[in-house]
Amino acid sequence: MSRELFAPRARPPLVPTVFGILVAAVVLLGPLLLKPGKVSTLVTAIAIAITALGLDLLVGTTGQLSLAHAALLGVGTFSAIGLGGRGIPWPAAFLGAIAITAAVSALIGLPSLRIRGLQVAITALAFQIFADSYLFQQSAVKDNTLTFAAPSFFDPAQHGFRRLYYFGLVLLVLTVLLLRRIGATRAGRSFVAVRDVEQRAVAFGVRPGPTKLLAYALSGAIAGLGGALIAFKEGTVNDAGTFNLQASLLLVAIVVIGGARSAVGICSAAFFVRALPNLIPAGYSLPVLGDVATTIPIVFAALLIVSIVGNPEGTGGLLRRARTGIEGLFSPPAKRPSPRPRPTDAVAAAAQAADLRRVSRPLTERLPVPALLVARNATVQYGGVRALSEVSLEVRRGEIVGLIGANGAGKSTFFNAVSGLAPVTGSIRYRDRELVGADPARRTRAGIARTFQDMGLIRADTVRQNLLLAQGWITRYPASAGILGLGSTIADERELRRRADLALELFGLDHLAGETLGDLPYGTMRICEIEAAVSTGPDLLLLDEASAGLTPDEAHALGDRFLALRDELGLTLVVIEHHVPLIARVCDYAYCLESGELIAEGAPEQVTAQPRVVESFLGKGSLRETASAR
């Protein structure tokens, strides 16, 4: 933290800044040059952009598709007219429209409590068509006698649409800020976790169903705001064409072409498809393509296909790349930090990180029991396959226990059984309490943390974001408080950051905190996952193939960290490991599995020397040969 604060600030790059100022000038001053009718179009485009930003929270951030956002926009508009037209003050009508639309959106997302598949999109489609053919035809909904009269300050009849335009712009900026804010809270991190690692996120204390429902509700709330803006501007709506199926499909296109999680991209795309056709003089036509106003949507639909196939990051991605390119032209490329762990003194770092153990747990779970984890006849059966067969083993407090065996021996299955991701029979007791049947989040709270063989983190996020996500269960402030920054939220988040930084320093990766995880070498990613697990302040750490992808030197350094975790932090480790020298150096005890059954246990040297283990795990060659081949 402190190091970042005192680092010399880079001069802001010239060209992007100039570009930004130009865009801002056009956005702020442009309407002064346009006729009122054209400005009116821009206000609608702003409402569409707001709705698209809301949709992006679902599509880009949470990985859910809604085909009903135009209908939700309509729900917002008609709610605002219904409320405002009955004399309710306009701010209250706005809030009412937002609340109603959020509720309807949550209703559409209800099946996401039960399913992971894309079928939820069909519910939304069904709602869209229901809204087209029934809801928006009802006189109770589309009441032409009601008018949502804007206060005289905004009245388009007196002032044209300029004041409404700037009002809309303020709402748009607020929406962007709100979305940024959501991204920095537990809820925002859970959304991304549901998108990328839904099944594993349960271990971080993320509950996928309610998380998705919350995303639907927030996304609907933002669509409601867009709708209220349209109501504010129009006063009364006769044509529900803005809210039909075609409009919904175009909204998805805006999000995809604009680029997930890129406000600038999404706003540009909304402007291109919703405002541009009306800004071009009528009858203006191109050779071959013909009339421009009807050609733009076709170009847009084609762009959607091209985007999804060839440029999944959308306009936002292109802008980011252009920016880096331009910056590169004017200043020497910034020195990228080495993507490898920095060699640090493991013992000293671990001493600093002792704080990580300070998490509050129920007193009963802090009772000292010599055997931290005891499995008795643990069996995991998938259909006709027994992945784990009557395994009984013991992990003592303060030990590093090695779990070895060939691929398919059941090592990862055992981890799944302990962390609650596999259906297990028999008994697994942790601190003398039964784990079988307990839900995964409770096991995390009890102090069990793990890594996955194929990464359970989010590659698109930064290293630090991932560490914050992993600690989700530590702070349980409600989503609403987090978004508004109320209560202990800010202090909690600061504490999570501090813990994340401690964990990063522990493994010598503090210089990579801001890097995107997916850009790092495989071995470094694996260490990040261990850090994420350590940052949750566990007592028992389950590490699945920790040294995969590391150079021999790095594997040796990793061994030092294991010892430091045990000796300085007092953690108990179970490591699945293929690297025999590492096992021999750090493990206090080792178990060997074969085809789901335990075939050997004892001190590491004894276990790896047993003929049956050698045959099953190490192959028939000599120990030394196998080890050097790895």
């Binding site: 990985g63 999109a121 499909l249």
Partner: protein
């Protein structure tokens, strides 16, 4: 109208939906993509056929009959399916399923907007390809297109079932679905499985458009996408990976829709779309994998 005859009408309506639903399931089972473009893929070919019926095939004096227009819809649907598979879907094979769904959305949007641009927003008249005789089955008056839809649905379902369970290619399809990489290593031509799914799916969509549009007398852009919702609902309710499920689900949607529509005042025909919404929402909450679907779907 008595309940029984309403049900018969509903079954005939549902049979037409089931043609699209089977296309959706075929593509879902074959490529793990949920396609919402099938309505518009079928409509695009029918638009061409019906337009030529009125204006003549470009460069000739030939005015195809309504039946030939239907055949054109089937052929163009199949071709369009293959083009979409090759140019759009195949590059997305290894991407998240959401990307595939959005791509099909783009295809639907593009086709509908092209129809709008080429043929305008005025409805194109769509006469019955199989004449206007009305059959009476259990007191239910069934126009010839409905009967044709029912017969076609049965033929298609039985044909596909036999093909997928009794032939080597069917076995290859199922292998490709369960694990594309392993299937490829075993010598299965996974790409030809994908092409089969999209080609047959496109043809079925054309067939569905040809029997659905005459029920309303005309065809407009986006209309088939609206109808295809009923088919998508049917597929989801029946189970996305089961051909029989698609048929059962679609028939259920057709029956519920018809019964609801016949029993509320005719001015409120939006009640049918509410019934479909409730049916989908209810199924996904109570039995997420659908009536005949496997657990892999949910």
């Amino acid at each position: 109208m008595e309940l029984l005859s309403q049900v018969v009408t509903g079954l005939a309506v549902g049979a037409a939906y089931s043609l699209i639903a089977v296309a959706v399931v075929l593509i879902y089972a074959g490529t793990k993509t949920l396609s919402i473009a099938m309505g518009e893929i079928g409509a695009f070919g029918l638009f061409a056929g019906l337009h030529w019926r009125e204006e003549g095939v470009p460069g000739t004096d030939y005015h195809p009959s309504a039946l030939v227009a239907g055949v054109i819809a089937v052929v163009l649907g199949a071709l369009l399916g293959l083009v979409v598979e090759r140019l759009v879907m195949r590059p997305l094979v290894r991407r998240p399923p959401l990307d595939g769904l959005i791509a099909t959305l783009g295809v639907a949007l593009l086709l509908a907007l092209l129809e709008l641009k080429i043929y305008g927003s005025d409805p194109v008249s769509a006469p019955s390809p199989v004449g206007n005789r009305v059959f009476t089955v259990l007191d239910a008056p069934l126009p010839a297109t409905r009967v044709a839809a029912f017969v076609l649905a049965v033929v298609v379902a039985v044909g596909l079932f036999v093909f997928l369970t009794r032939t080597k290619f069917g076995l290859a399809t199922r292998a490709a679905v369960s694990d594309p990489t392993v299937a490829r290593l075993l010598g299965v031509r996974v790409n030809s499985v994908y092409m089969f799914a999209w080609g047959v799916g496109g043809a079925l969509s054309g067939l569905a458009a040809a029997v659905l549009a005459p029920a309303f007398g005309n065809l407009t852009p986006f209309a088939q996408t609206q109808f295809s919702l009923r088919a998508l609902a049917g597929a989801v309710i029946g189970g996305l990976d089961s051909i029989w499920g698609a048929i059962v689900g679609s028939l259920l949607v057709g029956v519920v829709e018809t019964v609801v529509q016949s029993n509320v005042s005719s001015s409120q025909n939006g009640y049918a779309s509410m019934a479909v919404l409730v049916l989908v929402l209810g199924t996904l909450l109570v039995r997420p994998r659908g009536i005949l679907g496997t657990t892999g779907v949910a």
